[in-house]
Point group: C2
């Protein structure tokens, strides 16, 4: 008789954003006259930039003609895209990442979920608390996390690195030694960043203890301040300890188009095995490439025109971030993030729990945010707002909130 993967049965409730979706749908169904403003899930609202639309049309036409039709993509992704990434995201920043160290994929969510699979199940992970739920959930599915301790709201075999107001939402080096360390800067959900010097400490630590850092750089396009690294490979020694994940979702609005990439330097080995070749094997066996037309869309993001247009979109969202941050602050809320990130992390008022505040905000202001506790127990009493809405909606949502 078939047995199921029992690790799946250990998973807690449903995926955070599915639960939010359900509550919002129920409210909307019961209150069809209310205008709900969504600052919850981190989905963009600006349409794709004109240069991207144009590149898509050109590529679509190529797919319609015999001489330019493209079938299966190369295993790592098209070279035109990997070369561009190598030059503009890395070499231009002084990082020696070669095109054949880049794996093009359908997005950072898939990659951040699948990357754990190339490691043994006995490895212990360290994660920030609060944290993007995919890192933990996919390790639960793999059987790496032990048992869930209801009381503490934590997994017994996960090393948590609390990110709280006390440490400015930047994790400290863990006391116990992990094998895999998930880091994300600019951070989701807190919007926190670390300086290059601080990130260098993490790289040095990982190299010292033999850990591997899985570095999620999905939000690097939102960095506005100097001395905040855009890539972990800006740190010396990162090539022997770090895997980096990138998304086109937030810098160029690809949430509905799907494109990302993962970097694994060839020096990164464990047990004499190149992690690059393990990931190459997974990529080649369980995945079949991002669509040609989407890879062409990704390429044009790096063109002069594309860069100008996507930077305008990022600036648009950062104007939202500033509006949320400054107006909530002025109204007496305690907020952080939103300076180098599209997320604002706020303390819930009146000691409300995260979900209490979620329900209250939905009910009374018809605004959707994300309960901080959904990202981990240290997120309890916090709430995440995203800057990805339309400006007018964002202003209206903030105004409704400040009038609560």
């Amino acid at each position: 008789m078939v047995t199921v993967n029992e690790n799946y049965l250990k998973l807690r409730g449903s995926y955070l954003f599915s639960e939010i979706g359900k509550r919002v749908s129920a409210f909307a169904a019961a209150n069809p006259d209310k205008k709900i403003i969504r600052l919850g899930i981190g989905d963009v609202t600006q349409p794709l930039a004109p240069a991207i639309i144009q590149a898509l049309h050109v590529a679509v036409d190529e797919m319609g003609a015999a001489e330019s039709f493209r079938g299966y993509a190369p295993d790592l992704g098209y070279e035109f895209l990997r070369k561009t990434i190598s030059e503009q995201d890395y070499k231009a920043r002084g990082c020696q990442i070669e095109p054949d160290e880049i794996f093009v994929s359908d997005g950072a969510k898939s990659d951040s979920g699948n990357i754990q699979e190339i490691f043994g199940v006995q490895n212990r992970i360290a994660v920030c608390d609060p944290v993007y739920p995919v890192y933990v959930d996919t390790n639960v599915m793999a059987g790496r996390t032990g048992v869930f301790e209801e009381q503490r709201g934590l997994w017994s075999n996960v090393i948590y690195m609390p990110c709280t107001a006390e440490n400015n939402f930047a994790p400290e080096l863990p006391k116990e030694t992990p094998e895999l360390i998930y880091l994300c800067f600019p951070n989701n959900p807190t919007g926190a960043v670390v300086t290059k010097d601080v990130l260098q400490e993490w790289v040095d630590y990982a190299n010292k203890v033999g850990a591997v850092i899985i570095y999620d750089a999905a939000y690097e396009a939102y960095i506005t301040e100097d001395n905040i690294p855009h890539s972990i490979y800006e740190c010396e020694g990162a090539r022997t300890c770090a895997i980096e994940l990138h998304s086109f979702s937030k810098n160029a609005g690809f949430t509905g188009l799907r494109l990302g990439y993962t970097v694994i330097p060839k020096e990164l080995k464990r047990q004499d095995v190149m992690l690059h070749s393990l990931w190459a094997r997974r990529h080649g066996t369980k995945y079949d490439g991002a669509p040609y037309i989407v890879q062409r869309a990704g390429e044009v993001v790096y063109s002069e025109e594309g860069q100008r247009q996507v930077k305008e979109q990022v600036a648009y969202y950062m104007k939202n971030a500033e509006y949320i941050r400054t107006h909530l602050q002025a109204a007496g809320f305690s907020v952080s993030g939103g300076v180098n990130a599209p997320y604002i992390w706020m303390k819930t008022p009146d000691s409300l729990s995260s979900w209490q505040f979620f329900d209250k905000l939905l009910q009374d202001a018809n605004v959707v945010g994300t309960p901080g506790v959904g990202f981990g127990p240290s997120g309890e009493g916090y709430f995440r707002l995203t800057a990805f809405g339309r400006f007018e909606d964002t202003v209206e949502a903030v105004d409704r909130m400040t009038k609560l």
Copy 2:
């Protein structure tokens, strides 16, 4: 210190098609003047049909306008596509598959590789021999296959179902009882099919022993004969034992566009758990949906115009299949398949091994095929040719082969 997933280290050589790619690249580099004709990897060559191109353009324009832009797709895929699939691929054939039992994905390769993950590692799989390598390799990665026995060329903990000329390349019910059974009809690589009565025996068997059938229907569009089932759900009782995988790659040329779907009926439970909810959890946690524009392209495949156009393409490839089959037969080769499938399965001449024939064909005829042994030991002495080339190339390749 981090350990790697040691199951990965057990994998044999590289993925079959990567190895073929390497040998062909080396030959091409050394012989730049030779015109190589590729009838190896099952990639299509006809451009996307006009209706699909038009739907893509329309959807791209939607992505460029604020009011019609789409971000993250719904977890299971857009309802417009799932409803169409439910109606046309299932209800029109008398199969009660509902839209919410359909999971839209980026293709059957990913799904056939990932689906094993919702089952426990202790389950034993049964596969045809020869077989599409992804089924076995992904179970090796999961640690389900035991050790590789060099002598036999087989994994110790896999139940093999030999498909040979003796049984007309249709597997017999296994003597040992498996928990997971991979079936693919029309078959890759042999091109064999089974009748509805025979498939019903498999469904009855699975229900009797509590096994789950993973049914790969990627090639159903190539069925030309009556009484060959297009879906396993045409068999009574399949809803309690079968998962079905579908691809848009072969029926509509989406190899470079990426779209597929997986069906898990809600009655399909093991240990009182709906497999549907396990897959929903995986889908929601480790995947983020096929691009909106590609889902729209998939929808139009089912329109009247789309159906007419993609059926013309299938007919084009089947004309190739007939040409290969009849001309090789006339030249004295022993061939099968190619009647309800785009694959021709031929016996290598002069008792050559599969790879010997591969190298000879590449060297002397500059034709690329796929060594049968790459699909399993019972494929030794066989060779797969695909009908997905251009007609003129196919004719030339066959002519070169018959003159060898």
